[in-house]
Symmetry: C2
């Protein structure tokens, strides 16, 4: 059964694709889902790549408790106000009512702030650079597989520094790591930038985000990095003796990305046949399928297994599909699952010492000699990676509208596709007006905007910042 | 400040060691703790080693939701009875009382059983071999860092099979993987065996365990593997059409190990100076410390860094300690943290082109030529690994008493150290009597007992099984 086409109904296409490509199952708790092996393997790849970068930049992993006493959560006023509507509470345990309610972490600034205040005593204890990989829960009203689920998996980095400058540099350095992984490995172009005050993290001084454009023209916040100033240090008494023996508050940061990157990957590259996974992040880069009249003959299966071993030795992630299904069925199935490259191998190919390759991104087929095939295959995988990024960039460029000058113009277009770049006077009411009248929200103030906007998109007065506005997930 | 000696007070030694070696901090929720980088790095190593074995034997990772509706938990009667006293309940979320209480998983048989019943339709879907790495919560009465904490990290494998024989083979195969990792990497000798009915997992047909002996002579259950028969399949309707088109119940298994392995490592090898980490599991195998009158001279620090690079190139996990503390302070600190091998490097050593090595396990020092030092160092690390296992085995053999014939004899010895091997008539009341009168519990019925016991340890009648009895964590 074919997928609904993206043009007909993008949401329906997405929901069908995540089910049919065997990525997830709905769970019996509202908004919760099971990450099946095909999606969890993507998360493991993302984890591995990020974890390497975090460690290479001096961070260590730790694990903090999931249950947070209510009193601790309340210490930073803005923070609790921001998260309170989404918190699940443990009120009973082991048959008894608890004396104090315990929240399941929606994020860990408070429990980590509490621990940091005990660990940090002197400038010698700084910087403290920790990260944790864990699950969190936010009781969201509207959920969507991978993109917004009640429980999700993520990493959250939490650092403490002696100076403001160092903490600010950390905030931006981590944003850059996200950008590198998302652009180089997930092949999705990024818009890094700063959030407006209305959109920033509850308790932060500054929030930076990476915004992505998906194939339906909507925006997705893919990662955030927060500079907390001394807000959490003051709430949790994170103080240190500096080199002159003065007691000072530390500057803290936090930064995170989540399993929503899996959703981003699907909606940034997928097509009417299903997923397209960029080779750099694909748990399986190549699928070998026997074809032709004698496709089940032992010598064809042997050749497929031998080829698999050769490619594995060349560090290509490869599987064979020797099941009894028809070749056509297998082609569809592996296309649906987004494997970047298919190799067809049949009796005639063996005779001619050749292989037939089919690219998932372009659908192109080509025949190559079997000898040293890994060299050509690696080259093609690299081309697929580059091509996916280019295609996404091209789509983004077409849909990033810098020519729409004001809210009135935007409202004229009923079926507007993409984002608009608009000026902002600095007044929250202008941002709120845009949201109320178009459902476009301020995504971020891009670090490198395509151009600068002189007048506020909403009120037309002098602009203080240039902002991406878009419908967002 | 010195640690309390193990002889004086083993528990006190343990609690001091986990704090001073910077492994953990207590958290503000009863029985919860923070895994600091030094202990989390051990868990990452254990995870990596186990994960490789699980994948190499055909298992895939997935992630199931943490919150389990009460109705689902109640489906397997023995299971809910076993876990009910330890469950924490979420009763409110997003400002509202929930219609149904949600338990935080103590283990995931129920939610996974629910999902498997949807996924498994035909014999072609079997075996289904999944594992997940996650956190779980059990509201335990008495807690101890790493060994028994309210929240802990673990992996839980859950498999479904078409035949009983296949599921039983899986149960034992996974137990063997635990044994391999614990013996070969953690250097702790294992006693694999089957649990008595009183000690088996709530809902299982058979539970197998790996029991370890710690330096205080007490037992620790380090890993378990459960054969569920069709108990969970019947409770959750996990049925499949077999090759003859008959609808049959699947046979399921589950198996897990936890962060308590970190506690096992500490209590199996540690001494009065602190931790001793076996090289195969050590995140840092070698610490390089500059020594001598000119230990802070640039050329000494350069030599230390150069040596670090050489050893890193040879895949030895090495760090330098170039801080301003005294060499003596550093020696104590790295001994406390259990780094298997220390290299001292000073101006005189540089002149003589030599290095001084100090083993953590024996305290022995030796001088070796600097050229190609990685070869000797690798050999010594391997010797340390072997020696730690031998020492643990020797201790175990001394403390595994096969000569104590009956409960009366055991009760005579007020300060009994170690385990006893005793017969068991098969009657639960005999097992309960031993527990009540000595606090020794049935650890397991070892797969390969040192000898067979003909008469029941408690009642003296004909024995049906030979059992390890011990005080346990």
């Amino acid at each position: 059964m074919k997928l609904t086409s993206q043009k007909t109904d993008f949401s329906k296409w997405y929901l069908e694709t995540v089910k049919k490509a065997d990525l997830m199952s709905y769970a019996p708790v509202r908004g919760c889902m099971t990450f099946k092996p095909a999606s969890y393997a993507l998360w493991e790849k993302i984890k591995e790549l990020l974890d390497q970068r975090f460690k290479a930049t001096g961070h260590e992993n730790a694990y903090f408790p999931m249950l947070i006493p209510e009193s601790l959560l309340k210490k930073e006023t803005n923070h609790i106000e921001g998260f309170n509507p989404e918190l699940p509470w443990v009120t009973e345990a082991a048959g008894k009512k608890l004396e104090e309610r315990l929240a399941i972490r929606p994020t860990s600034e408070t429990i980590i702030g509490h621990m940091y205040s005990q660990w940090i005593k002197s400038y010698r204890d700084l910087p403290l650079l920790l990260n944790q990989w864990c699950n969190v829960i936010r009781w969201e009203k509207r959920t969507l597989p991978f993109i917004r689920t009640t429980e999700f998996l993520w990493q959250e980095g939490h650092t403490a520094h002696a100076t403001k400058a160092e903490a600010e540099a950390e905030t931006l350095a981590m944003l850059e790591i996200y950008q590198q992984i998302i652009e180089q490995k997930l092949a999705i172009p990024c818009w890094p930038g700063r959030k407006t005050p209305l959109e920033k993290f509850a308790g932060a001084c500054d929030t930076y985000s990476i915004e992505l454009m998906l194939k339906d023209g909507k925006a997705l916040q893919a990662a955030t990095s927060h500079f907390m100033g001394t807000n959490f240090a003051k709430a949790f008494e994170i103080k240190f003796l500096d080199q002159n023996n003065n007691l000072e508050y530390a500057y803290t940061t936090s930064w995170g990305t989540t399993t929503r990157l899996i959703g981003a990957l699907i909606m940034a590259h997928g097509d009417d046949k299903g997923l397209i996974i960029p080779p750099e992040i694909a748990p399986t880069q190549v699928i070998i399928v026997p074809v032709g009249p004698a496709k089940s003959a032992p010598h064809v299966h042997e050749a497929a297994e031998k080829l698999k071993q050769e490619l594995t030795a060349a560090k290509i992630l490869v599987k064979t599909d020797l099941s009894l299904e028809s070749a056509g069925w297998k082609f569809n199935e592996w296309e649906l699952r987004g494997i970047p490259l298919r190799i067809e191998i049949g009796p005639r190919d063996l005779e001619k010492q050749q292989l037939v390759l089919a690219r998932r991104d372009t659908g192109e087929k080509q025949t190559i000699p079997s000898e040293n095939s890994h060299l050509i295959i690696k080259k093609i995988l690299s081309e697929i990676q580059t091509n996916l990024f280019s295609l996404a960039l091209e789509r983004q460029e077409k849909a990033c509208h810098v020519e729409v000058e004001c809210l009135a113009d935007l409202k004229k277009e009923t079926d507007f596709f993409g984002w608009v770049l608009g000026g902002w006077c600095g007044d929250n009411t202008c941002e709120e007006k845009i949201k109320a009248e178009t459902s476009f929200t301020a995504r971020n103030i891009p670090t490198n905007p395509p151009c600068k906007k002189e007048y506020c998109f909403a009120c037309g007065s002098k602009s203080k910042a240039t902002v991406w506005y878009a419908r967002a997930y």
